[in-house]
Symmetry: C2
Subunit: 194 residues, 2 copies
DNA sequence: CGCGACGTTGATTTGCCTCAACGATTGTGG
DNA sequence: CCACAATCGTTGAGGCAAATCAACGTCGCG
């Protein structure tokens, strides 16, 4: 039932069958309909999700009604509002389903308990956040130093499957441009590659 | 000698005197002259620095010779190229001193040993990276969704001491604008507040 | 003293946005 | 299952934010 989940952990950590059992007891499987809101900004993010099917997005809403997509979470990705989840404060971001989605969830309290029972889990999440930290540093410098055209180019190269799967509107909100301008970029690309 | 360092750890973790001793044995104090390069892109980042005096900057250089400042590290901040430090790969970022700087350093290998001797250190760094992760998510959405003017406004409010201490050139490279444009923004602000 | 880095200012250009109109696609209620 | 509405993507016109290029004063430093 939770194979993908434990395979993901196994990338950085060896768990005994007993430990897997302890963890399994705290997991549950959730399903979300397309466009369903998983976490609304302002709520507390009480669960951490590991996506096994479909795709979630983490995003921030702005006063003017627009949104910035922070992260797409297809199969094998982790989703949560980190600050809210770990410190119990209201979340500043939201989570919603881009497709019909299945995810394995674990509650914040339960994870805290598991950190105590299985201290090496700290190691797993240390590495997970460490990698994410690095990933966002890179995206930040990209955002600050390159044109939308190049950012789109890199996105399609790095995530070719996502760039087909996700609507342009949401890709635009991920790149930080308007859908109108993304459309212009796409047109340009077709011409220049012809 | 390492008071600031252990005070920083104590924010998230209680260490016994013995543990502090074990850690102290792996630390060393380094000094860097103003403008000295601490880590050049392409090298391996073998040490993690905790700044006790002065200020470092983590930055990325681009092909055209320009730079983006990722992070300023004044007293009480941690500096490293995370990916290079933790995985031993060549670093994609550089570190340099903005001022004459003192920092406590620890070697990657030694930290790995300490993770084994004192597993709860994993917890400390898990929390450190978790917070950094969240910080960069926020900066990313800021960079993607707001004007340079607002970003500068927020920077000066959030880090008033840094905004006096650091040259406009480097602040511009942190905000992702040219020094010329930052100068224009500053002029605008003076006028509008008058 | 003189040179080079820094910050300012102005003129011009470019990247991206806004607004608006239009097919095409999706989804939904009758 | 169809009809209609809503959302999405495209295209064009015009505007604003920020870059580029260039010139100049100032300051720190050799």
């Amino acid at each position: 039932m939770y194979e993908l989940f434990f395979q993901n952990i196994a990338k950085h950590l060896q768990l005994s069958a007993i430990e897997e059992g302890q963890i399994s007891g705290k997991l549950s499987l959730k399903t979300f309909a397309k466009n369903e809101v998983v976490l609304a900004a302002g709520e507390r993010c009480k669960e951490l999700y590991f996506v096994t099917k479909g795709c979630l997005r983490l995003f921030q809403s702005h006063e003017n009604g627009e949104e910035t997509n922070i992260l797409f979470c297809p199969e094998n990705w982790w989703a949560s509002d980190v600050m809210s989840f770990s410190r119990g404060v209201p979340s500043s971001n939201s989570i919603a389903a881009l497709e019909a989605t299945e995810a394995i969830s674990i509650k914040a309290n339960d994870l805290e308990d598991l950190y105590i029972q299985i201290p090496k889990l700290e190691r797993f999440f240390r590495i997970l956040y460490q990698n994410g930290f690095s990933l966002y540093q890179r995206r930040l410098t990209l955002a600050l130093s390159t044109s939308a055209e190049l950012r789109y180019e890199l996105f399609t190269k790095q995530y070719p499957s996502l760039s087909n799967r996700i609507s342009q509107k949401h890709i635009a909100a991920y790149l930080g441009v308007t859908p109108v301008f993304l459309s212009i970029l796409r047109k340009r690309r077709v011409r220049s590659s012809a």
